[in-house]
């Protein structure tokens, strides 16, 4: 029930003009949060707390003090709304338009993207398997997709402190390409727009809209122009409701809205899935000496500098134009709270077998993102009333292959086909689930299901089982290994470990976080409420710091979390939200799950172009 029907303030009245026929000038969604109220924090946090709080009340920090503000939002309607202009989202949009063209239908498709431009938040290794793209846009080569460096060599090393032992490569990368996913996604965005998809970068979907039957009817974008204390700035702009008959969530790994939806509709239980497990990937793109550059060369390493209890490794891919992608991935179920994945990466670059590539080169960009490692065991039931979850938000990454782009794209295409069936022929969205189970995604992920869980017992058992899997069993065993503890529960208390001394950055091969961060082109409007919310503001100083020695000050690759002495010489948590790379590591790894990553004002965040 809309209690307040105020129109925009005087200077904005020009914006409430007659919109086109498919838009409405006032919000009709009854349970959309037209009024900001204080959130109710009386219940202890649980993963499904979103079930206890009605979705109509948005969680806001108590400092926001303008409860009277509930101006009606503009509402725009589409047939399909896609959240996230990544490989999955754009593949779904393209597929929908292709189906419309084929069958003579006309569906309006809108993609909202929180990055300032399409591709700005896209970061990935990336050795690309063109399987899904071949199905989606078979003419990609003629249409000059930025896929032009075929894999030329495939190496796999086990590193010790001083040596690199060559192992047989478990990957079959023949026919794959070394690419920059950010560049490919930009190309996909252009293709989508050619087909009539409307893409709106710079708009962050911050809330889900529901109708009275608990069905999802679209998303609401962030209000823009709110100051740090919650008051409205000069350029305050109310968010917009983007409604769709079907909403597809393609936010990538640990998508903020997807997590809420999965909690609200119990999608993990429905799919019989385990919890999702994650890894943090940190990556740099270097321009190196052309004599050392071998286009298409692919290298993966295992071992040093990680210990045998921590799963992870590195990658080094040679792209074109003397550029290489080098990165380090650490599974987030590491136990030692003193572990610093960023510093491990910096350390790794000094290895005698790695440093020759980098010497004489310069870093072009830096970035970080979490990725799914749960695989088959963690796939939730991805359909909810009013839409579906696609891509890494559901989690289709093939861990032993370390590839998730092709499966994400395929999931988008399958969801698009199901969506078309729903909107055009009155079928059920459950078709998407059935299509997934009958597709090569399922087949691939099923075969790959035991590789990662085998490493729960350490590096050697993991490698042994991997070898067995790869050469003999190939997924044909009757059992499915389970994941260990959830990532945030795996962290041991600090007293069980001792601090790790990391070498200082030398400024040539290794760098400190501020220098690296500058290379990510990250920025946020600084005068906005912090988008990293603490469910209980006392926990950092009462739990994180004394028990776990503040792990967030180490795993965050952007130095967002710092403990600074206040005027009483007590260490207090300081959140530098402006640095955030949107990697979601804190949302995953915080031991008490106290940190909630919410989406900041659209247009902020990293600015990846060659990642």
């Amino acid at each position: 029930m809309l209690k307040f029907c105020s129109i925009f303030s005087k200077s904005k009245s020009k914006n409430l003009f007659l919109l086109r026929s498919r838009t409405k000038s006032t919000s009709s969604s009854q349970s959309s949060p037209a009024a900001y109220t204080f959130s109710r924090r009386i219940f202890p946090y649980s993963k499904h707390s979103s079930l206890l709080a009605p979705a109509s009340i948005s969680r806001v920090p108590p400092s926001r003090s303008f409860a009277t503000d509930s101006e009606a939002r503009d509402s725009i309607e589409y047939d399909v709304v896609v959240v996230g202009a990544g490989p999955a989202g754009l593949s779904a949009a393209i597929r929908l338009k292709q189906l419309c063209h084929q069958k003579g239908a006309d569906l309006s498709v809108c993609v909202v993207e929180k990055g300032a431009e399409v591709g700005a938040h896209i970061i990935s290794g990336n050795v690309f398997e063109p399987r899904a793209l071949d199905e989606l846009l078979p003419q990609w080569k003629q249409e000059e997709a930025p896929i032009n460096t075929p894999v030329s060599s495939d190496k796999f090393w086990f590193l010790t402190k001083n040596r690199a032992i060559s192992l047989p490569s478990p990957f079959h990368n023949k026919g794959n390409y070394v690419i920059s996913l950010s560049q490919l996604v930009r190309w996909l965005g252009a293709k989508a727009e050619e087909l009539g998809v409307e893409i709106y970068p710079g708009f962050a979907a911050s809330e889900i809209l529901y109708d009275t039957n608990n069905k999802v009817i679209g998303i609401g974008t962030n209000d823009m122009g709110i100051a740090k204390d919650g008051s409205k700035k000069e350029n305050f702009q109310r968010g917009v409701e983007v409604k769709g008959r079907i909403t597809l969530l393609a936010e990538g790994c640990r998508g903020s809205l997807s997590e809420k939806i999965m909690g609200r509709y119990n999608l993990r239980e429905k799919g019989g899935a385990e919890h999702q497990t994650y890894a943090l990937g940190i990556k740099e793109v270097w321009e190196i000496d052309e004599r050392k550059h071998q286009p298409g060369a692919v290298l993966h390493t295992l071992g040093w500098p990680l210990d045998h209890k921590t799963y992870g490794g590195s990658f080094l891919y040679h792209m074109k134009d003397n550029q290489i992608s080098i990165g380090f991935v650490v599974a987030l179920n590491y136990q030692n709270p003193f572990m610093n994945p960023y510093e491990e990466f910096q350390k790794f670059k000094h290895h005698p077998a790695i440093r020759p590539y980098l010497e004489g080169g310069t870093v072009i960009q830096y970035g970080a993102r979490t990725l799914n490692e749960g695989g088959f065991q963690s796939i939730p039931y991805p359909v909810f009333p009013g839409g579906a979850i696609i891509g890494c938000s559901a989690g289709f990454l093939n861990v032993p292959k370390i590839k998730g782009t092709h499966t994400a794209m395929k999931s988008g295409m399958l969801a698009a086909e199901a969506t078309f069936g729903v909107l055009n022929e009155g079928l059920d969205m459950d078709m998407y689930w059935k299509a997934l189970r009958n597709s090569w995604i399922w087949d691939e992920l099923y075969k790959a299901r035991n590789y990662r869980p085998a490493f729960e017992n350490g590096l050697i058992p993991g490698l042994a089982l991997s070898g067995l899997e790869h050469y003999l069993l190939r997924g044909k065993h009757p059992f499915t290994l389970k994941h260990g503890k959830a990532d945030h529960e795996a962290t041991n208390a600090a007293q069980l470990h001792s601090p790790i001394q990391y070498p200082k950055a030398d400024g040539i091969l290794s760098f400190d976080v501020p220098t690296s961060l500058h290379r990510s082109n990250t920025n946020h409007e600084h005068d906005q409420p912090p988008h990293l919310r603490l469910r209980d503001p006392k926990i950092p100083e009462t739990v994180n710091l004394p028990v776990y020695a503040a792990p967030e000050s180490r795993y965050c690759p952007a130095r967002v979390y710092e403990y600074v002495a206040d005027e009483h010489n007590q260490l207090k948590l300081q959140i530098n939200a402006q640095n955030c790379l949107h990697c979601k590591a804190c949302d995953i790894k915080d031991p008490k799950q106290n940190i909630e990553w919410t989406v900041p004002e659209g247009g902020g965040g990293p600015g990846y172009s060659v990642m």
Binding site: K14, N15, Q237, G607
Partner: protein, 299 residues
């Protein structure tokens, strides 16, 4: 009354700039571009003047290759009524831009031209002044509005104060305290930025200069360039972005406008600034003098 705003597409301010290996310029490939921040402020000011009823139309002009259309669309999404794109792939220096604007003025006949004070890629700070010179129009550059409590969040927009104000602060030694009580009026005057008087055909501009604030009154038609603290540009809303797709954009080429793009300037080399060297601790004054004499060679 028509207002013309010139906007430029530049490398986004948050991007880390890299110099090309051959030192001929900076890397612009695969780099995020956006509207020059000062141009955003100029456009915002024009939109506010139109919204107060004193102008009927805001025309946004951009010059450059076809990618500039993105920036022009953003300007239209913010609220400009029409766009003009002058298509040119060659490098345009301020004098070329000024000449093109002068010739566009003869077609469009605006009463006010508002530009950003400078572009963040070349930092020239010349175009506005050159346009005024070529047109023989008065100019009010570095238009700014710094009000006494502008640091307070939620401070209301005090543009368009009802009274016109004309004068200088009396005590020049206190000029660095902008907007404070030194002014002769005795009242706490809040600076008003740009104020248009349609009847008298004049515009009053508060200019932020090194000495403090200087207020000038210009007879229309005039040129204004905007400084950082003039206003907070609005966000382009989703409905506006959608509407902007159908707003008209007129295309010109420099040849059609009788401007020859001949460059008298040649960029010889672009290098990064030298890296700061670490400081050296000296143990005595004698050692300091010796180092200054022999190493730094400054004495």
């Amino acid at each position: 009354m028509k207002i013309m705003v010139a906007i430029k597409r530049v490398i986004d301010y948050a991007v880390k700039i890299r110099v090309k290996p051959d030192k001929s310029g900076v890397v612009t490939q695969n780099v995020k571009m956006s509207m020059n921040p000062f141009c955003e402020i100029a456009l915002e000011e024009a939109l506010r003047i139109r919204e107060s009823g004193l102008a009927s139309e805001v025309v946004a002009v951009t010059m450059g290759p076809s990618q500039c259309l993105d920036t022009l669309r953003t300007g239209l999404a913010m609220g400009a009524d029409r766009g003009i794109h002058v298509d040119s792939t060659s490098a345009l220096h301020p004098l070329h831009v000024a000449k093109i604007l002068r010739n566009l003025v003869q077609i469009e006949k605006p009463s006010l031209i508002i530009l950003g004070k400078q572009a963040i890629d070349d930092d020239c700070n010349q175009t506005g002044q050159m346009v005024a010179g070529l047109l023989n129009w008065p100019q009010g550059t570095f238009a700014s509005k710094v009000s006494p409590s502008s640091n307070h969040p939620g401070f209301k927009n005090q543009a368009f104060a009802p009274t016109m104000w004309w004068g200088f602060p009396k005590d020049k030694s206190n000029m660095s305290q902008i907007g404070k009580k030194e002014y002769t009026h005795g009242t706490m005057k809040s600076l008003i930025g740009v104020v248009l008087d349609k009847e008298k055909e004049e515009v009053t501009v508060d200019r932020e200069v090194d000495d403090g604030i200087e207020t000038v009154q210009l007879k229309l038609p005039a040129v204004i360039t905007t400084d950082l603290r003039l206003n907070q540009p609005r966000y382009a809303t989703l409905p506006n972005i959608m509407k902007a797709k159908s707003k008209p954009i007129k295309k010109f080429t420099p040849q059609e406008l009788n401007v020859e793009i001949k460059s008298d300037l040649e960029i010889v080399e672009v290098t990064e600034p030298p890296k700061r060297k670490a400081g050296v601790m000296v143990s005595s004054v004698d050692e300091l003098i010796e180092k200054l004499k022999n190493e730094a060679k400054v004495i």
